[in-house]
Symmetry: C2
Subunit: 212 residues, 2 copies
C-alpha cells in the first residue's frame, strides 16, 4: 500500500540471552523528567500543557504486528469473533500480511479503510510466513508466532533514523538494508521480495525498543 510505506517500526531487543548493559542510559535519562512514582490507587496525571515538539508532532502509532501461524485460525479469532474488518491482504513474496482494524463510522467498504491505512491508528498486522521450514512440533512456538513490532508513521524516516543514532538508540534496519532477513521477526524469513516489495521495504526503518 502506497499509503503505508513510509514508516518506522519498533521491534523487541534480540540476540544474546545475556543482560545487555545500557551504555547510553544515563544520556537518555538526563533528557527526561521522570513522573513521580504514585502511591497505589491514585493515578498521577500531569497538569502541564502537552508538549508538541515539531519533529514528532505528526507521528502516529499506526499498527501492532504479530507473526501468526494459521491465517484461518487468526482471522476467525479477530474477524469472526472480535469483529474486526479485513482492510487488505498483501503478499510480499516471503510472507503474506493481513491488515485488520475496527472501521470508523464513515467507512462503507474496506477500500475506505485501505485508503487511509497509513494515517490511522489502532490497526493490527498479522504476518504469515510462507516457508514453513521452522514449523515442526520440535520447534519452539516462540519462533513461529508472537509479537513482531510496533509500526509508527513518521513524515521523514531518514530524519528520524538520523536522530535515533544521534540520541544513541539502536537502529536495526537502516533504509539501505533491503533484504528480507533484515526484517526482525520471531521466525526467520526465507526467500526474496517479489513484485516491488523491495522498494516498499526500503522506505521502512526498524529501531530496537531498549526495554520492551
Amino acid at each position: 500500500m502506497e499509503q503505508d510505506t513510509n514508516g518506522l517500526e519498533v521491534a523487541q531487543a534480540r540476540g544474546s540471552d545475556q543482560h545487555q548493559p545500557k551504555q547510553h542510559l544515563s544520556q537518555h535519562e538526563s533528557l527526561l523528567e521522570l513522573p513521580p512514582a504514585p502511591e497505589p490507587g491514585t493515578p498521577y496525571i500531569s497538569q502541564t500543557i502537552l508538549c508538541r515538539v515539531p519533529a514528532t508532532k505528526d507521528y502516529v502509532l499506526n499498527h501492532v504486528a504479530l507473526q501468526i501461524e494459521s491465517p484461518a485460525s487468526s482471522l476467525a479469532f479477530y474477524i469472526d469473533f472480535l469483529g474486526m474488518s479485513l482492510i487488505f491482504v498483501v503478499n510480499t513474496g516471503p510472507f503474506t500480511a493481513y491488515y485488520l482494524g475496527y472501521p470508523q463510522k464513515s467507512d462503507v467498504s474496506p477500500a475506505d479503510m485501505a485508503a487511509e491505512t497509513g494515517v490511522r491508528s489502532g490497526l493490527l498486522e498479522l504476518i504469515s510466513l510462507h516457508d514453513k521450514v521452522d514449523d515442526t512440533p520440535e520447534t519452539s512456538p516462540s519462533k513461529r508466532r508472537g509479537f513482531a513490532h510496533l509500526g509508527i508513521r513518521v513524515p521523514d524516516v531518514s530524519e528520524t533514523l538520523k536522530l535515533a543514532k544521534e540520541k544513541g538508540w539502536k537502529v536495526i534496519k537502516h533504509l539501505d538494508n533491503v533484504e528480507p532477513y533484515d526484517m526482525p521477526l520471531p521466525g526467520k524469513i526465507h526467500g526474496a521480495w517479489q513484485a516491488g516489495f523491495d522498494q516498499t521495504f526500503a522506505q521502512i526503518g526498524f529501531l530496537e525498543d531498549p526495554d520492551g
Copy 2:
C-alpha cells in the same frame, strides 16, 4: 482509571513448548470465508460492504501492553525520542502502569487524554513489575520484558467471555479470577493488589490468542 476498567485483553498462548493441537479449528474455519491468497504485489481489498455485527460494533482496539524493565529507559525512548505523551501513571501494588499515546489536535493537557483513555485507540501501556526477583543476569530477558497483551474495549465483558466460550476460544482469565497471578505477563507477578485495584481487575477478561 474508571474509563479504562471495562475491557478484554488478548494475550499470547503460553504453557507447553509443544505444539498445541487446535481442537476447535475446523469449527472456527467454517464460520469465516477466507480471503483469496493474492499474487505477490497486488493487495487484495474486498469490494463488499463492511459487516457491522451488533455484538461487536462498539469494540475498540484500545492499547498494546508491553512489560518493561526500566521506566527511565522506556519513557526516554517513547516520550523524549518518539514524542508520545504520558497520559497517566497508576500503581496497582504489584506493578506500575504507564499509559502513553499521541495526542489528538484538541487535547491541551494529559487530563484531556486521560478522560477518554477508555474509548481511544492506538495507546501504549508499559508495565513495570515492582518485585525484581526475576531480574538477574542469569534470567532470560524474555521473562523481564516483552509483549503482554492487546487491550480491547467492549461494552459487556461478561457477554463477550460467554460468547468466547461458546465459540471454543480459550478464556485464561474469567471475571472471578481476581488475583495478580491470574494476569498473564512475560514475568511472574508477586504481591497483592492495593487500593482497590482488585475491583478494577475484576472487570477485565483475558483471552488467549489462538495463534499470534
